[in-house]
Amino acid sequence: MEFFIQQLVAGLTSGAIYACVALGLVMIFVSTDHINFAQGEMAMFATYLAWAMIDVGFSYWMAFVCAVLLAFVGGLFIQRVILKPLETAPVLSLVVCFIALLSFFNALAGMLWSFTIKPFPTPFPPKDIFGNGLVSAQQLGIVAVTVIMLGILTVFFRYTTLGLAMRAAAQNASSARLMGVRVSWMLALGWGLAAAIGAVAGMLVAPIVFLDPNMMTGILVYGFAGALVGGIGNPMGAVAGGFIVGVLENLVGSYLIGNELKLSFALAMVVGVLLLKPAGIFGQVIVRRV
C-alpha cells in the first residue's frame, strides 16, 4: 500500500510536469487552433536564457521574470515574423513549420550551450515535506504553480473579453474579424502567452530532469497526450489530463507490464479513452447542426 501511494505521488508529480506543458499546448490551441510541436523546445530555450542570466549574476527571480518576458516577446515575434505570412497556408504546412522551429531551437541551444546537462536552481527549499522521501518541496511547488497558472488561465479565458476574443479568433477567424477582433494580433498574443507559460514550465521542470537541449522532447509527448485526453480546448481538462497520464504511466509501469512498455501502454489507454469520449474526458463536444 505504501508503495502504491509512493507511485501515485510520483505519478502526480510527473503529472504536474506534463500538465504544465499541456497548458502551453492548450494556450496555443485555444488561441490559434493549432498544436505547436515546438512548444517544448521553446520552453527549453527560454529556460536556457534564464540559466544564462543566472550565470552572469542575476538573481533567480530576476532571471525568472526576464525569461518569462523574453519568452513572451519571442513567441509574439515568432508569430508575427514566421507564421503570419502562413496564416492562409494548409494546416500541415504549419505543422512543418513547427517541426522546423523545433529543429532550429534544439540545434541552436546545442550550439550555444552544448548538449551536456546543466543543473538548474530551484526557488523551493531542498526539503522533504513528510520526511519519508515521498514529496519534495520542489514537487509540491510544481503542483502549486501549475494550479495557479491554471486558475489564471481559466479566469482569463472565461471572464475577460480579451480571452473571449482570443477564443473567438481561433474558432472562426473571418467571423471574428467581423466582430472587430484583430485576429492576427490575437494569434500573436496566444503565441506570446503560450511561450511565457512554456518558460515557466521549463524552469519548473529543469531542476528535476536537468537542463539540456533534449530536456522537453520526452515530456512533450506526455503533455500532448495529457492535453488531448483531458480535452485540448479546455485548460482545466488539460491539467487533469496531465495528471491522469502521469499517474497512469507510473501505475502501469509498476503493476501491469513493466517499464519497457509503460509509455506505449499509457498512450494506448489514452487513445482508448478517446474512442469512448472523442473530445476528451473534460472536453466539450462541439455539436454542429447541418
Binding site: S175, R177, V181, R289
Partner: protein, 237 residues
C-alpha cells in the same frame, strides 16, 4: 439625405477569378438598400469587398471617410456590422459569449449592456438559450444570433447576407420584422442581399440588380416592384 456608404468602381476577385466589375453603389443614411440577382451574380462578393475580406480595387467611402485601405477589423470598428453568409456562428462559444464578444470594441460598457438587453428583447429565444453552446442552436436561432451579434457592435450600417437562407417562412417573417424595427428605431442603415426578392423589396427602399458582377439596373424599390419585365427577367416572379 447624405450617403452613409459610397462605393465607386468596386472590383473584386476570388483567387484568379474576377467576380465584380466596376460597381458603383450608394446607400443613403437611414435607408435600406437591397442587392438582388441570381446565384453567382456577385452579391456576397460585394459585401465581402466592402469589408475588405477579399482582393479588391476601387474606393469605398463610409460616412465621408475613405475606408478602401482599412482592414476588416477597422471597418467594423467604424460602425459597419456584417451578418455574414452562413451566419458565422462561434459554435464553441455560448450564446452569451457570442454576444459579449462585442464588448471588447465597445468603450461604453453601460451602453453595450443596454444593447444586449435590446437583443434579448428582440430575440427572446436567444435569452432562453443564453448559456447554451451556440453550435446547438437551430438555423433560425443562429440567424437571430448573427443579427444580434452585429447589433452588439452598435453599427450605423448593417450588411446582411441572405438572412432568410434555409429558414422556415414563419421565422423569416419574424426576422424581417425585427430588421425593420432595427432600421426604424436604431436608425441603422442596411444593405441586404437576398434571394427572396419579394421579401427584400418589402423592406428596402432602394434596389440594385446585379448580373455576373455588374449592375444591370438600380432605382427605388417601387420602380422594380412595378416593372414586370424586370422582375420576370431577373427576379423570377
Amino acid at each position: 439625405m447624405a450617403a452613409i456608404l459610397d462605393v465607386k468602381g468596386l472590383s473584386a476577385w476570388y483567387g484568379p477569378i474576377r467576380a465584380l466589375y466596376d460597381l458603383d453603389l450608394t446607400i443613403e443614411q437611414g435607408g435600406v438598400t437591397a442587392l438582388l440577382g441570381a446565384n453567382g451574380a456577385g452579391k456576397t462578393t460585394t459585401l465581402r469587398a466592402i469589408c475588405n475580406m477579399t482582393r479588391r480595387a476601387g474606393t469605398t467611402t463610409f460616412d465621408g471617410k475613405d475606408i478602401s485601405k482599412f482592414t476588416t477589423e477597422d471597418i467594423v470598428r467604424l460602425g459597419i456590422g456584417q451578418v455574414p453568409e452562413g451566419r458565422g456562428t462561434f459554435t464553441g462559444l455560448s450564446v452569451d459569449e457570442n454576444l459579449r464578444l462585442a464588448f471588447h470594441i465597445r468603450k461604453d460598457r453601460a451602453e453595450a449592456m443596454r444593447d444586449m438587453d435590446l437583443v434579448f428583447e428582440l430575440f427572446p429565444r436567444l435569452k432562453e438559450r443564453i448559456k447554451q453552446q451556440a453550435g446547438t442552436l437551430s438555423g433560425g436561432e443562429q440567424q437571430m444570433l448573427a443579427v444580434g451579434r452585429a447589433l452588439m457592435l452598435a453599427p450605423r450600417l448593417m450588411l446582411l447576407d441572405e438572412p432568410s437562407f434555409g429558414l422556415a417562412p414563419l421565422i423569416v417573417q419574424e426576422i424581417f420584422r425585427i430588421l425593420k424595427r432595427i432600421n426604424v428605431e436604431k436608425k441603422v442603415s442596411m444593405l441586404i442581399v437576398e434571394q427572396n426578392a419579394a421579401l427584400a423589396l418589402e423592406l428596402a427602399d432602394h434596389v440594385y440588380l446585379l448580373e455576373t458582377g455588374r449592375v444591370v439596373t438600380q432605382g427605388p424599390s417601387e420602380l422594380v416592384k412595378n416593372d414586370e419585365t424586370l422582375r420576370k427577367a431577373y427576379l423570377g416572379y
